[in-house]
Symmetry: D2
Subunit: 356 residues, 4 copies
């Protein structure tokens, strides 16, 4: 039950820090015979890659993924798949001045409290660069799931500005820098992010992820509930503070009658007349669309000076320079998608193990 791995039978372990030679992920338990090439993985890496617009960090990383093992003549062999990504554009000097001060909102103090010391370069292991490994692994999970299952992430809220769901346009998502399904909201978000950046401030966001095509029956009733696994997956991403399944906290505010997803005869099993449940009942998928939302806090690294203390316990102020995303939630979208894929692939195999 190691602390850097995730999953039951389709299981992965990640390694690497922001400013070391690179990072990677070892995937264990992948079914054999699946066609897999670096070109299957790279497009997902590119979605998450920094430096693509002024709204994300200006660190330039090609994030070129390399398959190191587990694939022979273009197919997975069933043995561990190691995917590796080199770090190219680290600038450790950016961090030298602030190593002695605890940055609010970061793991600086808690690392020292836990481990006695830490690698201060770019957050070390806590850097969101770790999520590149998840995206790479998620690309493999998508291949395991096959083409009948589609996973789609996008932002539904940025800086407190929600999308208008009546304008939801799937085609819009990749047509703006914010993974916004609402082109109007995307424009408002652009203005908000620009304003925050100029102000030395940052913004939070909410990422929603849908999975369609998941058959009824994946998951388990109690401790490996599909919703519990998704919650664990999403809350393992940097900067997340909340997770919802289906209508989430809204469910706590409406009555049982209004919350009920009534059922009617469908083509394959029953169909649901609404989807407040987010496709999961009693921890098990019900055949409807799986829906999960994750809250990302605003980037903690801001130019605005904040009160803090030094390692030696002295009062001081800190203003974090360096190349940071003004809204980490934006690049959180491909990560949320990857975690959805990884949970589903694992549950698919776990279900097959128990129920054939």
């Amino acid at each position: 039950m190691s602390v850097n791995s995730f999953g039951h039978v389709f299981r992965f372990m990640t390694w690497g820090e922001s400013h070391g030679p690179g990072l990677g992920v070892v995937i264990d338990g992948c079914p054999p015979g699946i066609a897999l090439a670096e070109t299957d993985i790279q497009p997902w890496m590119d979605k998450r890659r920094p430096g693509q617009s002024r709204h994300t960090t200006q660190r330039r990383e090609p994030d070129a993924v390399k398959i190191m093992s587990g694939v022979y003549e273009g197919r997975t062999t069933g043995t561990p798949i190691h995917l590796m990504i080199e770090n190219v554009d680290q600038r450790s000097k950016d961090y030298s001045k602030i190593a002695a001060k605890y940055r609010p909102g970061h793991a600086d103090y808690t690392y020292d409290a836990k481990y006695g010391f830490r690698d201060p370069r770019g957050g070390g292991r806590s850097s969101a660069r770790e999520t590149a490994a998840r995206v790479a692994a998620g690309a493999v999970a998508r291949k395991v799931l096959g083409e009948t299952i589609a996973i789609r992430g996008y932002l539904t809220e940025l800086g407190g500005i929600p999308i208008d769901r009546s304008r939801f346009d799937d085609a819009a998502i990749d047509a703006n820098s914010f993974f916004s399904p609402d082109p109007v909201a995307a424009e408002e978000w652009e203005a908000a992010v620009d304003a925050a950046r100029k102000d030395g401030n940052s913004l939070g966001a909410v990422a929603e992820c849908m999975a369609t095509g998941v058959p009824a029956g994946w998951g388990a009733p109690v401790y490996a509930k599909l919703d519990g696994e998704l919650a664990a997956a999403m809350m393992s991403i940097n900067a997340t503070k909340g997770v919802e399944i289906g209508n989430g906290f809204e469910a706590a505010r409406i009555t049982g009658r209004d919350n009920a997803d009534e059922m009617a005869p469908g083509n394959e099993g029953p169909r649901f007349l609404s989807n407040n449940a987010g496709g999961i009942l009693g921890g098990i998928s019900n055949g409807d669309v799986i829906v999960c939302r994750t809250a990302f806090k605003p980037t903690s690294s801001i130019l605005t000076p904040l009160k803090t203390v030094t390692r030696d316990g002295e009062e001081t102020e800190i203003s974090t320079k360096g190349r940071h995303d003004p809204c980490v939630g934006i690049r959180g979208v491909p990560v949320v998608e990857a975690m959805m894929a990884l949970v589903l692939a694992d549950q698919m195999l776990l279900h097959r193990a128990q129920c054939g």
Copy 2:
């Protein structure tokens, strides 16, 4: 990585259904030499026990817990602790009529989809009776944590009516039937629950849980993050749809400047001038109060007739009689507390394993 167990080194597995002879939990990895008697566990069971007011199910279960192993002369031996609770007041006949219809909001259909058939009596394994085993295990976890760590759960919202935090009174929590820290809200909730019950309807709720006294340093940066573990723990409880750490989704709506928990010199390490983070930074406890909120959907079993289908795929209606909580979130409070204790005990031991 079984589907009915939870935890890394302080690990438990539960068994049992609503209408079988009983249920229980086996706790593995408990430190030796801890004083433990049934009287340490029973008070927590009694908090969760049904039938204590008209606002919860009228099923009468003494929920008397029996220590079956792992304790010798009043102390834990370090070997598995099996805690068992008999089912006394099952009434299976209540369920006979509805076994052929899928209850909306329940796992009826998903069970059939997964397992091919199911035990229809009281939800079988999906029954919230399973949570009695968690509360029993949680009592042991509290003993492991010791007296310097205090865990406190309460409702902050019921049926969409929030508490007024300016009226927060710790002493009030156990003085009403709703675990409300706000006595005024408790009265409003009473009226709301009574109205819902009379109307054949049900209500949701939000349970908050705080842990004080947790030292800085528990948790891990990535996949066994303290917040990730709490999210998994809470979302494994029946009827939960969302989890928040600290200010949760609110963090996504405010700026980095407003969300920053500034730091100042404290007695032991830094202290935080605010606690939006809910006591966790980078997955590791920061010494501040741990805060977690869980959304419970309204009880799915309601008298109001709802559209559904039969096992054979025929259109029908269902109205669920039987003895159900009009608001399952109320009795969720001791369960949420138990899961907090179980996660913390596990993390305490995991931290000790790695960092001594």
Copy 3:
């Protein structure tokens, strides 16, 4: 990764001590829909049950197994199966005198060193009574494996006296008190065991277990190798000191040419002209008979006085009275069978998870 559970996806956790109210096992991950009744389990319990001949302990335990959960209308539901066995014939007073002395060959001293104290009654958790839970779980594993797989255990050696394999008679195994496939050896063993008992001494034994009908393809190349899993399973049984797969240590003594299992075309895939490998190649079953041997040391509880020390570190002597098996290896046979079944059932499901 708890210390009282075993298995990956078909996983079980045991609880209970020699002199508590009972013991049991919770099985997680069992496929649904399998016919299961207490009468499927009891015959295997009876094979292991003490007090059936003068060659095993005279403790009288009915070892009646009770299904507490996970079965509905005679079929497994896919949820945890709890099997419970009451302790009936404990006599704790037998142990009172020797609690202060460390018995050589027992875990008395190591328990104190680990846990700081211990339950001295009948070895507590270390008692071979724990193996009753394994036999119960093994009966369920056999049902999961189905009727095409047959598992057969027997002794090949007792007190240094080997069977003559030319006299191997499957029908003989259950016709003597020693699970001997060689009726002549059984008679020699009887004399040896009688002599040892009269002399206040004890004997060791070697148990072999065969599984026929296992298809090629179960297992894994590295850390979950079928042979590695069997080794872990067998060495988790009390009093075991060695494990062999196929020809075992003999393989280290012959040449590669002599050890080679040559292959020829068979009905389904290749057949092997010999089976030195014990049915496993590269950690994966090859379709031939799985063969595993386990060495049991002689019972440590003997009447012969032995030098030892007290808890306080004083020199003393001990002579262990009480009701002990003169050769624990005899009753080890049904346990070895159970562990074989449990490993195979887990591997069957794990293989299905990865390879469909």
Copy 4:
């Protein structure tokens, strides 16, 4: 519970094949603050490195290990340590001719049976090259254990020729090509290995490993027994067919009186007057020397023609050319040491987790 990882809290996962770009291991759960450099690891790699004498494979691999993560300024950070080793001297053409024939004693057929196809180059994942990753991880485990614990492996038998224990000389072990503690046996083994190689044949061996300085109290009574873990660890190494703890199978052949390790007062706790138990009682270390023996079968790749079948099921013969160790057991010695270190480091942390 992945199939390519090992350990509970000090846990590692390996990746890589014989003829891919390289191989590696990710270590999770390593305590922070431990001094670690590549120079701490390389000497152990060099012991296992091929091509050092004519008695091992002539493949020339520098096996230079590179620390990719988890170390900052010379100390472990508590985050995953990735160790990578490049493959330099692969010659895939050696294997092209035999890809269509199943080599007896190899995983060729079982891989095809499991995965449907395989990477035929040098055994792919089944190659003993995987053990380089174990040796690297084992070097880290030694650092975790510290200098008070010494782990020493050597051969006690090769080609059926045992050492004479009266000539046991610790200094001799590294002074010959066979890790033999008996210089006379080393000469006999040299002649035997030379003869086997010339004859197109191969030999097996038995490797013993001792750990001194292990305190009493590590391990667990049942499924994570120290002996069970060692058995699993050793049987996960390629070409192993048997494991013994202490006197192993000999224990099954002597009486309880002769097998008893009597106890006497010692400096710290009791001392044992003999060590048949191999330092483990009831699954827990007793403070005496831990002793474990592992049987390696003779190398399956031999020049002698053997009967076999093709992938298409045709009868054929095979004679395996290529660069193979005439006795894989020799290079098994550093691997056995590494696994001992890895098990002990994990048990040390697991004990600390539960018992403080």
